[in-house]
């Protein structure tokens, strides 16, 4: 087996925090069997998913600075992606559940580990590798883990459903943990969730036909929320399960939540509603708990935005019995 010297990978990156990376990927899972589209270009890696109905989309954007090392070879990328003139960079689809399970094998005992990810190998696979040594006595014990995942074949003629969100009307920002708690509480009525925004109020409510109603009223008075903007009062409705997926972030990201500790210890989420009711939820996750590494630009090097776009449920009707269409 020849060494890899003669083979050029299109994508060659080193992940510094495998556990956090895997946790961020897990938040993109919208269904048990989930296909993810991976796109890499010079600025970084974007991994996107959508559910079968195409009414909920998620993506995580890993800028090149969030990796320990990042390299993209344009020529190899063009060849690997089928030589299509569709644009720069590399793209392929992968079974997200398989990737998450495999990355689980790379996590060290005390939590974190590094891994080298490359694509494509000679057989077209995504390869993940980790090697470390522990010297004890005259013979060094060396451990290594490796994995090869074959990308999914793109279904013929599948339309590119890009995530798009335009004409932001209203927006607010709150700690990710707080938003998650609100949505978790709204599970009880078993119905779709309405988000109602006007100049002085932000309300989440759910109505369950045989169960009851629950409303969460958020205090939006001066200084309570980091951001609150209302350009046009809105009421929009979303399927509970999409809202739940859009707000379920791994516990390791939710931070210590020190009261009044300031925004840099708590993970924040920005929510916006478009003029036609589309919902955009952006979680600002940090791959590393180490806050010391601030670049001069002020943006934390390890920040990864994870974005969800949820279509509104059509026909908000007070007489609707809130049944989920399947």
């Amino acid at each position: 087996m020849a060494s890899d010297d003669s083979w050029t990978y299109a994508l060659d990156v080193s992940i510094a925090h495998v556990r956090a990376f895997t946790s961020a990927l897990s938040s993109l899972r919208l269904a048990r069997r989930q296909r993810a589209k991976v796109r890499a270009d010079a600025s970084g890696l974007a991994i996107a998913t959508s559910d079968d109905s195409k009414t909920c989309h998620a993506s995580a954007n890993f800028r090149s600075e969030t990796f320990r090392s990042y390299a993209l070879d344009e020529t190899a990328a063009r060849m690997a992606s089928g030589g299509g003139a569709r644009g720069r960079g590399a793209s392929f689809e992968i079974d997200l559940a398989a990737l998450i399970d495999v990355l689980g094998a790379f996590q060290g005992k005390d939590g974190d580990a590094e891994a080298r990810v490359r694509w494509p190998s000679r057989s077209g696979a995504l390869t993940i590798e980790l090697e470390c040594a522990r010297g004890t006595g005259e013979r060094e014990l060396r451990q290594g883990v490796c994995a090869e995942i074959m990308p999914e074949v793109s279904a013929e003629g599948s339309a590119e459903t890009e995530m798009s969100f335009r004409d932001e009307a209203n927006a607010f920002m709150m700690p990710t943990g707080t938003l998650k708690e609100i949505v978790d509480d709204l599970e009880w009525p078993s119905g779709d969730v309405d988000i109602e925004i006007d100049e002085n109020s932000l309300k989440f409510s759910a109505h369950g036909a045989e169960i009851g109603d629950l409303t969460v009223d958020v205090d939006v008075s001066e200084g309570r929320l980091t951001e609150f903007t209302c350009r046009e009062p809105s009421v929009s409705r979303y399927k509970y399960r999409f809202l739940k997926s859009a707000t379920s972030v791994g516990a390791n990201f939710l931070g210590s939540g020190v009261a009044g500790g300031g925004d840099d210890t708590v993970t924040m989420t920005r929510v916006s509603v478009s003029s036609v009711g589309f919902l955009k939820v952006v979680h600002l996750l940090h791959l590393s708990r180490n806050r010391m590494s601030f670049t001069s630009g002020g943006i934390n090097e390890s920040m990864v935005p994870v974005t969800f776009i949820v279509n509104p449920v059509e026909d908000i009707d007070d007489d609707a019995d809130g049944e989920d269409e399947e």
Binding site: M1, S3, D4, I94, D95, A98, D101, V102, G104, A105, K109, S123, A125, T127, E129, E131, R134, T136, R139, E140, L141, R142, Q143, G144, V145, C146, A147, E148, I149, M150, P151, E152
Partner: protein, 315 residues
């Protein structure tokens, strides 16, 4: 048929190390006493596929042991590991100066039949606390011979072993746990130069592999470790090289069997030897307790024998 012995505190703790492992492996364990050894044994039938036994020298466990039987002074009985564990924990908790173990026969009431028990009694000055562990037995000569056959089949047919220290064995156990999420079967490869590979695959995961290099090989004559060996190229290519050149040994195992065999890690071993039988039909584990024993390194051991799955891997 008589059995009566004084268990030291250390002895009770040794037995208590293994009882929970047997409890997780199966609901019944066979205990065999002879004047030299105590063996706790679970056959493949009891564990769901693997043979496991703990082998303890009598003088590690008992300060004094008197036993006689018509069967070459061997006595064997079956009991529930959970009941044994409870009794031993109770004795340990009492911190008594002396714990006596005896085979007894008792009747619950005047009308009922006398049933056999393994009795543990903690004697401490004026107080005595007694616990009975119900047993099935003593087993007859044929049953004892059958147990001995299982014990003797272990460990004899392995040309070389790889020696995993505490860190390596814990890492192997964790690796198997994680691989279990990916696949129902794993391949294990060993080489005489001290490398161990565990690999799994399923569906789009074409390969998931874990490599350990630099393990000591036993016996020393079988060790072919070469520190100048060229090892560039990565885990996958090294394994492919080993398989294509035929220099290692590879077997396929059920991941559940391997997980269960590795439950032995809970007995706090000093190290773990792994090896493939010469005919390639078994994968054997030997857990050793090295410096933890009073007499010598091998007075306590825990052995597991895992059958190799036939070549056809179900998809």
């Amino acid at each position: 048929m008589r059995l009566r012995g004084d268990l030291g505190d250390v002895g009770a703790r040794w037995l208590e190390r293994f009882a929970p492992v047997f409890e997780r492996l199966g609901s019944e364990v066979t205990v065999m006493f002879s004047p030299q050894t105590i063996i706790l044994l679970q056959s493949a039938r009891a564990t769901g596929g693997i043979d496991a036994h703990a082998d303890l020298r009598v003088d590690e466990v008992f300060e004094r042991l008197k036993m006689t039987s018509a069967n070459d002074d061997k006595i064997a009985a079956r009991l529930e590991p959970s009941a044994l564990s409870r009794a031993l924990r109770g004795m340990i908790a009492l911190e008594a100066t002396r714990v006596e173990a005896r085979l007894v026969k008792r009747a619950a009431s005047a009308e009922s039949r006398a049933m056999p028990y393994l009795n543990f009694t903690a004697i401490d000055g004026r107080a005595e606390v007694s616990q009975d562990v119900p047993i099935v037995g003593p087993l007859n000569r044929a049953e004892v011979a059958a147990c001995e056959k299982i014990v003797e089949a272990n460990v004899v047919d392995v040309p070389y072993w790889l020696d995993c220290d505490r860190f390596a064995l814990e890492s192997v156990r964790e690796t198997v746990e994680r691989f279990a999420r990916v696949s129902d079967f794993v391949e294990v490869t060993t080489t005489r130069s001290g490398s161990l590979y565990v690999t799994a695959s399923r569906g789009s995961v074409r390969m998931l592999g874990s490599e350990y290099r630099g393990l000591r090989v036993l016996p020393a004559e079988a060790d072919e470790y070469d520190e100048r060996a060229d090892d560039a190229g990565g885990v996958a290519s090294r394994l492919a090289e080993i398989k294509s050149s035929g220099i290692g040994n590879t077997v396929m195992l059920s991941v559940k069997h391997l997980q269960r065999g590795l439950l032995g890690c809970a007995s706090n071993p000093s190290n773990l030897l792994v090896g493939i039988s010469s005919r390639g039909n078994y994968f054997e584990l030997v857990f050793r307790y090295g410096a933890q024993t009073e007499r010598d390194g091998d007075s306590v051991g825990f052995m597991v024998r895992i059958p190799v799955v036939a070549d056809e891997q179900p998809e």
